[in-house]
């Protein structure tokens, strides 16, 4: 308990907790739109696709600067979104396969480059390793501040363009009809996902970043039928997961942050599946039970009447 208290008081840790919370918030918000546009797995593909970008940034610069890594990852992510869009628009290959193709091929190229870096004697690629599972506790203060700032920008963009994103997600045909630049906005949402993924990779890692985009949004959908509420709840769930996950990870037992954050988000999801009103399992069971007794009572009444009449 005393260590837990001590952690709260450390300003460095406070920053990291704050940053992870904002990261969870922003990815929950953007994830809601991705969820409604049936692009939940986009984050998975884009986070994997970032690997070759990071490697190329390292090969070109020869330095382990976080800024360059993020830039490389973002460029690779944007290229990947174009690739996915190109494949789905121009061929009969559907979105799911296009995602899987871009994910594996980019990641494959990334591994080829990574092994090239390892074998070329430039050897020490430990900076790259951190990108796999994330370690928020070891982040530099400046990185955390950048992460927090970018997360805030993402949330601001989403709330300013809330109306536009809503129409785009609900009815893109109508949106185009009233003159929205639909292709541009599609790409904008993808770009926001790329940015969220890229800033999140350091804290949560490549493999699990996608969960921060998906799980809070899915959980939020269980509780509400209004988009505004859903976005707020998803942000809240994301922030909570980021906060608790990072807190446990930073409490000294040296467990990686990403998986812990995802497990907290999953716990929230499990709670939502069980207990949410109307959509949750428990309320569905209760509803079914009450309908069944009602039907049974009515049937009993009907057959009772029939018997009475027969008598």
């Amino acid at each position: 308990m005393s260590t837990a208290l001590y952690i709260w008081l450390d300003p460095n840790v406070q920053w990291i907790l704050f940053g992870s919370m904002l990261l969870g918030l922003s990815s929950g918000v953007i994830g809601s739109f991705a969820y409604l546009r049936k692009q939940s797995l986009m984050g998975d593909a884009l986070s994997h696709a970032a690997l070759p970008g990071v490697c190329i940034a390292f090969m070109l610069s020869g330095s382990k600067s976080i800024g360059l890594f993020l830039l490389g990852a973002a460029v690779a992510g944007v290229i990947a979104t174009f690739g996915i869009g190109f494949i789905t628009r121009n061929s009969r290959v559907k979105q799911d396969a296009a995602l899987a193709i871009v994910l594996t091929v980019f990641f494959g190229i990334g591994i080829v480059l990574l092994t090239r870096i390892q074998h070329s004697g430039n050897g020490n690629q430990s900076g790259l390793d951190k990108f796999l599972f994330g370690q928020a506790a070891s982040m530099m203060l400046s990185d955390v501040m950048i992460m927090a700032a970018i997360s805030l920008v993402l949330v601001t963009v989403c709330s300013l363009l809330f109306k536009e994103f809503k129409l785009l997600s609900f009815d893109p045909g109508f949106a185009r009809g009233i003159g929205y630049p639909v292709a541009f906005m599609d790409q904008l949402i993808m770009f926001l996902i790329v940015v969220a993924v890229v800033v999140g990779i350091q804290a949560v890692g490549v493999v699990l970043m996608s969960a921060l985009l998906i799980t809070p949004a899915v959980s939020a959908r269980y509780w509400t039928e209004k988009l505004g509420m859903m976005v707020v709840l998803a942000g809240l769930f994301g922030a909570l997961s980021g906060l608790i996950g990072t807190f446990i990870s930073a409490s000294g037992n040296n467990l990686p942050t990403g998986p812990l954050t995802v497990l907290v988000a999953t716990a929230v999801f499990a709670l939502s599946v069980a207990a949410a009103p109307r959509r949750g399992v428990i309320s569905k069971l209760l509803l079914r039970a009450s309908v069944r007794t009602q039907v049974r009572r009515e049937q009993a009444e009907v057959s009772g009447e029939r018997r009475n009449r027969a008598v």
Binding site: K38, F170, D171, G173, F174, A175, G177, I178, E225, K226
Partner: protein
């Protein structure tokens, strides 16, 4: 000078390698209720989507009241096919109708009480005032169609373009929709409807367009909607039960045109 609400010149459209529309030219007269009919794959939905710039065209020019569509968006209300959206989306009926105002609102600005009031009026016009707060997944097919119609009304346009508004709706909704369309017409607005039911064409529309990849005929319903022209449009797939009244038409071959919308979409 008075300009036609919609004028199309030399329009051709192709999906993949197959031409879907060839060299379509016509001018829509103002203040009419116009039906577009034709067999499966005739390009009815494609025609209105290409006219509104929703799909790329190979060739041809489209003008709305004499200017390109991009400059006239606020004059056009569009009702897409009902299946084109995800009805499980977390939103309610009122919200969908308010989307009709988004084009007028411009970027970033949120809909306020004025928009809400107008949306409620539009909902009342389609007989859905009691359903404003209802989640859209809990509406029936006919009610969903009415919501889409109310959204188009909220756009406050002068030219309305509707893609199969009568598919999958109940008789009461069909009646309500056609009454509303006639009301729009008396207000001097122009309404273009992609339609599949030949039996009701004469009753509903004062102008009709017969389409099968090429434009077969376009004109006032009485002289245009004839057995001979229909034969030309539908080819051998049409049988007349009663030569005198085209309302007793049966489309032969692969079922009626109801699934044409799915085919095209």
């Amino acid at each position: 000078m008075h300009k036609s609400p919609l004028s199309i010149h030399g329009l051709s459209v192709a999906y993949q390698k197959k031409p879907v529309l060839r060299d379509i030219t016509f001018e829509v007269p103002e203040g009419n209720l116009i039906g577009i009919v034709g067999p499966n794959g005739a390009g009815k939905s494609t025609l209105i989507k290409a006219a509104l710039g929703l799909i790329p065209r190979l060739h041809g020019e489209v003008t709305i009241y004499g200017k390109p569509y991009a400059k006239q968006r606020k004059l056009v209300g569009y009702v897409p096919q009902r299946e084109s959206v995800d009805w499980d989306f977390p939103t309610n009926a009122l919200d969908v109708v308010m989307m009709g105002r988004y084009g007028h609102l411009g970027w970033i600005k949120r809909p306020g009480s004025a928009e809400k009031k107008l949306a409620l009026e539009c909902l009342a016009k389609v007989g859905m005032a009691d359903y404003a707060g209802r989640q859209i997944s809990q509406l029936s097919g006919g009610q969903q169609q009415r919501i889409f119609l109310a959204r188009a009304l909220a756009q406050d346009a002068t030219l309305y373009v509707m893609d199969e508004p009568f598919v999958g709706v109940d008789a009461a909704t069909e009646k309500a929709i056609i009454t509303l369309l006639n009301e729009l017409k008396t207000q001097g607005k122009t309404v273009l409807v992609v339609h599949h039911d030949l039996a009701t064409v004469k009753e509903y529309f004062d102008w009709v367009m017969l389409l099968n990849v090429r434009l077969v005929a376009f004109g006032p319903t009485e002289p245009t909607f004839t057995a001979q022209k229909l034969q030309e449009t539908y080819g051998g797939r049409l049988t007349m039960l009663d030569r005198e009244s085209p309302s007793a038409l049966i489309v032969n071959g692969r079922s009626s045109d109801v699934d044409g919308s799915i085919h095209l979409a």
